[in-house]
């Protein structure tokens, strides 16, 4: 058959049309969020807005990156005094709350026991009717400040208002109470570890989840990281190893039952020691508290030995600081122990310097759990007619014994203003969808010196209202309008009084005036009789329950953020899991092995979860993290909520919930599986996660990496093996004697990363940031259980028991961007190739999925898309348009955030200049609270990262054996040696 040119073209056209008709057409949707974009928005150019992260009360400033009116990433606000640009994992995942699939999208009213969707009109009418007819109204919120408090007061004045309470789990109310007793100032002080040369922490996990971890981590790292010398030593005592314990110089496992005794021991030593700060009052305070602590049990010999060292160092240090607190150790004696700690800090001179009063720290406004419970009980008993809840989840975080859900059912009407569906909303009579904080105007006054402003960064994702506007609207419908008609106006008016330029404030994310001078600390003796006697733990049977907060789950409020479940817990190396941790002895006596399902419980409730046997935990204790078993991810994280196991035990003075000291029964309930991302924590004789003793580092005696491993030079400075050259010792294109293939040539740049292991705390913020920046799909529990995690960075846990220090270490591993990358030679199609600026690039569209590169990668950082992983709407709106969304069947891995590199190099080229130091910041580097990572160009000798790479602690992972010449330089961790305890 002859086919003419025209016939051929015709049939081609028909075929083409036919093939298009056969496919599913792309749905006709608007590409941009607006029809007429505002003038200052250029498609493709991100816009940044400053606001405040409300994932916890620490109040870090954030900059929201928006593209085409869609927020896609949060980064720390560099000018914010709390976090200075860094952000924790929860802060990174805060944006997921905005796009959460568990958001409440329409008002719900309980009909016949079921929450049913209704229109806004009906819901508001119902609320207005409630308000108009309620003889008593209660308001329960999370920690709020400034404008909202004024509004709440005004609202309260218009209606028969019982009270407005603010509630945060682990609200530090005992600290405020102790301060009120000793100093007559009922406030939570500002803790500032900067400048301290010795910190002893009893239970306070200040590098992970206590008070303001991002700020503390930065200050700890700046003082503690080895930089020729080190000015800070940290001791940690607590019932369980956590991130602070791991980064501390010394760690002692202190059972909950010995906490009081340990503090008594230290107080006795400190009080008896003559000090500059000594006044008659301090002596008396110390003596009185010691008397109150008399009933604390005897210390074990091991603890006493450790404490002897602690007390010696405390008294020898110039600027010591004692931190006490955290859910691990808060018992019914919390106020007494806080008072003892404060007394010691006063004696040691820390109060007034590292512990500052008078800054109006926001935490001071919180109500204790017993008051919250009283409010809920009066709602149940009818004293409060209408209870309005916003930003608090008492059902999930108050003790199970309090049966808050049941109380709320008994209450006449409970109105919950919820952004995401949670346990409290599920128990409400009316649920009204409200904005996520990223959609809100608002303010957050952390202290007098740190006043943050919140601004909405996008149109509301769903049909929700601002909670304050909702109150304003309801009040006006109830016939008692408030002064303001719009909350935005309240905020702007409020801030107009505070600042000269509202615009500048919005750009800065708030105002940070110098705080008032710290309140001078004079201990008083007048209130000492308020201090209770030490209440010994009742001698009941069962295991002591430790309920720690972790930086990933915190109290569980971020449970809807899948990145936080996908990011492994660095210590446990588990993902999508809140395991029950227990020690070896207990596990053996129960016949439990890691992974077995274990049930812990009491008369009222129980939790079943996989067991995880850990090394460092108090012998008769089990630990279950806060934040499991939440509604938002109940299906995926089966472990239950630890708060459901709490009994009604409060500190009698402050009313703070005792989160420690609960007893639970424990039994094995069957075999199971623990989802772990770790093969083995042991190095198996390989030089991988390296550390060196401080004494040697101080002397300047640094080991060298030779082809045989790590070697210290002998007396003449010689090592035996051939030394592995570092990047600054190599010249591009030269052929060293042991190399067959010439090195890669890098004419302009050779990008690289330096990771200071002495700074890394293993918090996991970098991992989450990478998810946010690079469109890494969440693969879910089952896939991770099969070993198919897709994260581009992992934090490896290494246990080195045989070494003299730092037995547990963290090693962040991402693509090492090797000069002689084993992945590049084996890829049959050049999908993995080396760019002229030293990146190991991955061309997704070229990849055919042989997985040979991943097999040949000694660092095992290449990640394969085994499936197409679904991105649930509206979560897909968070995707970064600068990064390809990978399909199934292709390999991916860390790109050093190539999109940011290209953006900066293009801009530099456009402006006819070179790239500046610090202009390129990959997402992991940007967010690291400890500043452990630095990015730069090895060819620029004066850049900060290049200077760091020349640190004699530097080494390259596995390079001594594989000769891969990575672009990532690790700096050895430096551990304290010599003094054992």
């Amino acid at each position: 058959m002859l086919v003419g040119r025209r016939d051929f073209l015709k049939s081609l056209g028909i075929l083409g049309v036919g093939s298009m008709v056969a496919c599913n057409g792309a749905p006709l949707e608007k590409l941009y969020a607006y029809l007429t974009p505002p003038k200052d928005i250029v498609p493709g150019i991100p816009a940044f807005y400053a606001t405040v992260c409300r994932a916890c009360p620490a109040g870090c400033g954030v900059i929201v990156k928006t593209r085409e009116a869609r927020p896609i990433k949060l980064e720390g606000n560099p000018s914010h005094p709390v976090n200075r640009g860094a952000l924790c994992a929860r802060g990174q995942a805060f944006i997921q709350g905005l796009y959460s699939p568990s958001r409440v999208t329409e008002p719900l009213i309980r009909k016949d026991g079921v929450l049913t969707a209704v229109s806004w009109e009906r819901a508001m009418a119902a609320l207005a009717e409630l308000l108009a007819n309620s003889p008593s109204i209660g308001l329960l919120t999370g920690l709020e400040s400034g404008t909202f408090l004024d509004l709440a007061t005004e609202f309260g004045s218009k209606f028969p208002f019982a009270s407005h309470l603010m509630y945060e789990p682990a609200g530090m109310t005992s600290i405020a109470k102790a301060s009120s007793i000793l100093l007559n100032r009922a406030e939570v002080p500002r803790f500032d570890p900067a400048g301290a040369d010795y910190i002893v922490s009893i239970g306070a996990d200040f590098l992970d989840a206590w008070l303001s971890p991002v700020e503390f981590t930065r200050k700890w790292a700046d003082a503690h990281a080895f930089n020729g010398d080190r000015t800070l030593e940290v001791d940690y005592l607590g019932p369980r190893r956590n991130l602070t314990a791991t980064s501390a110089d010394r760690f002692h496992v202190l059972p909950q039952s010995e906490v009081g005794s340990a503090i008594r021991y230290l107080l006795a030593d400190v009080t008896g020691f003559p000090a500059a700060q000594q006044t008659p009052e301090t002596m008396v305070v110390g003596q009185v508290i010691l008397e109150r602590l008399a009933a604390a049990p005897e210390l074990s010999e091991r603890t006493a030995l450790f404490l002897a060292g602690v007390s010696r160092r405390l008294l020898a240090a110039r600027n010591p600081l004692i931190l006490f607190g955290g859910p691990d150790v808060l018992t019914q004696n919390a106020t007494l122990l806080h008072a003892a700690t404060l007394a010691m800090n006063i004696r040691l001179g820390a109060a007034g310097r590292a512990i500052r009063f008078g800054e109006q720290y926001a935490w001071s406004r919180l109500a204790a759990e017993s008051r919250i419970l009283d409010m809920i009980n009066s709602a149940a008993s009818g004293q409060i007619d209408t209870l309005i809840v916003w930003g608090a989840n008492p059902v999930a975080t108050l003790p199970g014994e309090a049966a808050v859900a049941k109380r709320l059912e008994e209450a006449k009407s409970v109105v919950v203003l919820a952004a995401e569906m949670d346990e409290t909303a599920a128990a409400a009579d009316i649920v009204l969808p409200v904005h996520h904080p990223l959609e809100c105007w608002g303010d957050y006054d952390l202290t007098d010196g740190i006043q943050g402003i919140l601004q909405p960064v996008r149109q509301p994702v769903c049909r929700s209202m601002h909670p304050a506007d909702l109150l304003i609207e309801a009040a006006s419908r109830a016939g008692r309008p408030l002064r303001h008609r719009e909350y935005k106006k309240c905020i702007l008016d409020h801030w107009a009084d505070r600042t000269d330029s509202l615009n500048r404030t919005l750009i800065a994310g708030g105002r940070f005036p110098d705080p008032p001078p710290p309140y001078p600390v004079f201990p008083l003796t007048a209130n000492l009789d308020q201090l209770p006697l030490y209440a010994p733990e009742p001698a009941t049977s069962g295991a002591l329950l430790i309920a720690p907060f972790s930086s990933l789950l915190y109290d569980g409020r971020s449970a809807g953020a899948s990145w936080l479940h996908e990011t492994p817990d660095s210590l446990n190396q588990t993902a999508w899991e809140a395991p029950i941790e227990l020690g070896n002895t207990l596990a053996e006596s129960l016949g439990v092995r890691t992974g077995d399902r274990v049930t812990i419980g009491n008369a009222g409730s129980s939790v079943t979860a996989p067991a995880l046997i850990v090394d460092d935990i108090a012998p008769e204790a089990v630990a279950l993290r806060f934040g499991g078993g939440r509604l938002a991810h109940r299906d995926s994280v089966p472990s239950g909520n630890v708060a459901s196991l709490f009994g009604l035990r409060f500190d009698p003075v402050s009313g703070e919930l005792a989160t420690a000291g609960h007893r639970v029964s424990i039994a094995r309930s069957g075999p199971g599986e623990l989802v772990s991302v770790m093969g083995s924590p042991f190095s198996d004789g390989r030089a991988l996660c390296l550390a060196m003793p401080l004494s040697k580092a101080r002397e300047g005696a640094f080991p060298k990496m030779t082809r045989h491993g790590e070697e210290y030079p002998d007396a003449h400075g010689h090592v035996h093996g051939p030394v592995v050259p570092m990047p600054h010792e190599e010249k591009g294109g030269e052929r060293p004697a042991d190399n067959i293939v010439p090195l890669q040539e890098h004419p302009q740049h050779r990008w690289g990363l330096v990771i200071d292991l002495d700074r890394c705390t293993g918090c996991g913020a970098c991992v989450t940031a990478c998810y946010a920046e690079n469109n890494i799909p969440v693969v879910g529990r089952e896939e991770i259980a099969r070993g198919r995690e897709l994260s581009w960075i992992r934090i490896e846990k290494h246990i080195l028991k045989s070494e003299p220090g730092a037995h547990v270490r963290f090693l962040p591993v991402m693509c090492q961007h090797c000069d002689q990358a084993p992945c590049e030679t084996v890829c049959p199609v050049f999908a993995s190739y080396h760019t002229p600026d030293g990146l190991n690039a991955q061309v997704y569209n070229r990849c055919i999925g042989t997985r040979y590169c991943a097999n040949n990668c000694p660092y095992k950082v290449r990640r394969f898309n085994y499936f197409d992983y679904p991105r649930v709407s509206p979560g897909n709106e968070q995707l970064n348009p600068d990064v390809t969304v990978r399909s199934r069947g292709v390999m991916e891995k860390c790109s050093f955030c190539v999109q940011r590199i290209r953006e900066a190099t293009n801009r530099a080229k456009f402006e006819r200049r070179g790239v500046r130091d610090g202009e390129i910041v990959p997402a992991c580097v940007q967010t690291c609270p400890a500043g452990a990572l630095a990015f730069g160009d090895f060819l620029q000798p004066d850049w900060r990262m290049t200077a760091l790479a020349r640190d004699p602690r530097g080494y390259r992972l596995l390079d001594y054996y594989t000769n891969t010449r990575p672009g990532v330089v690790y700096l050895r961790k430096v551990f304290l040696d010599g003094e054992a305890t």
Partner: protein, 449 residues
Amino acid sequence: MTERVKPDIGAFSYREVDRDILATLGRPGKLYMALLAVCLLCVAIGAVSWVYLVLKGMGVTGLNNPVGWGLLITTFVFWVGIGHAGTLISAILYLLRVSWRTAIFRAAEASTIFAVATAGLFPLIHLGRLWVMYYIMPYPSGRELWPNFRSPLVWDVLAISTYLTVSAVFFFVGLVPDIAAVRDRTPPGIRKTLLKFLSLGWMGSGRQWKHYMAAYVFFAGLATPLVISVHSVVSWDFAMSIVPGWHTTIFAPYFVAGAILSGLAMVLTIVIPLRKAFRVEHIIRMYHLESMAKLLLFTSLIVGYAYGVEFFTAWYSGNVFEKAIFTYRPTGDYALPFWTMVICNTIVPLLFFIRKIRTNLITLFIISILVNIGMWFERYNIIVTSLSHEFLPHSWGVYRISLTEYGILIGSFGWFFLLFLSFIKILPAISVAEVKESMGFPPRKGGHA
């Protein structure tokens, strides 16, 4: 010419040879049809599994982050290995004038072709994006993108396609006189026309025989280095990497020996039932089987030596990475596959030292199957255990075979035997011409081919 009357071929007439061998092409019996049905079922299982894999993604396999290659690549290497005996027997033994190859080389060669054809599917099946597999071919693309010739996978593509082509041509050349013989006995019809075409006008003239013999030697010579090269190249898929347990210079000879071992075992597994089913015990005699058993024993000793050398090098090098993997293999998560491999490949074949065992059909058959199993596990061990236990202990992981992968494995066996069963009913599985040739002068009443 008494030296041409080989002791391995019985004294019977050309006519008997024709009758007995060509009888194998007769109407298939019930057993044959049943076997064919089983094969088709297996192929269907494999096809469904493959389609499922393509539709869902590689996630339906048991692969994970440390272990990127599993059952699919194991089975690929297994089939490539099977594809060794055929050409070894037909080409190398031909050049070496080893007389016992005559009776079995055709079946062996067929198994080679079909095994390589089966193996060739696996690199496709295991691709994450099958639909762009052509990127690996060196074709002149408009973007001037070529494959990476430094990648052993590209060498693999070239080596295997070359081997398949040459083996197929060699196989076909050897078939020409036999096709003619079948043609002459086929009644007119489509079948005859087809055979006429395939026999390339073979008349059995002296001239034709002269050319034929020259071509045969030529192809035998061409195929011989390929026997060595193809599995060496396959072994470089592993040896050229830096994975401990793969990265070793012994791999090429070790793989070739292993391939021959597995190929011989497979030929035995096929030939023993074949000769019984076709009643050609007088042509494929115990002598042939015993010779193969001896060769199998010899290659098994080489393979055993290679196993030992691997452990010795790991220990002697003092290299922690090597030591770890060679401690892991016999004691770790994959101890069962490891010991299966050792027992089946190095211990069981030692029984062939005993004459009674290597001349007993039952034991021969059982041991050949055990060696097949052992050789599959050898590849499984090399591939999977090494990947599971690489440089960073944090990334160690365990691979578990998924149902889909088992489906594909079953499908590959179905596919191989389907091709083989079809072949033996279409063309003679024993070379008529060569059997006659090896008989020397025919007895007085002999016929003519």
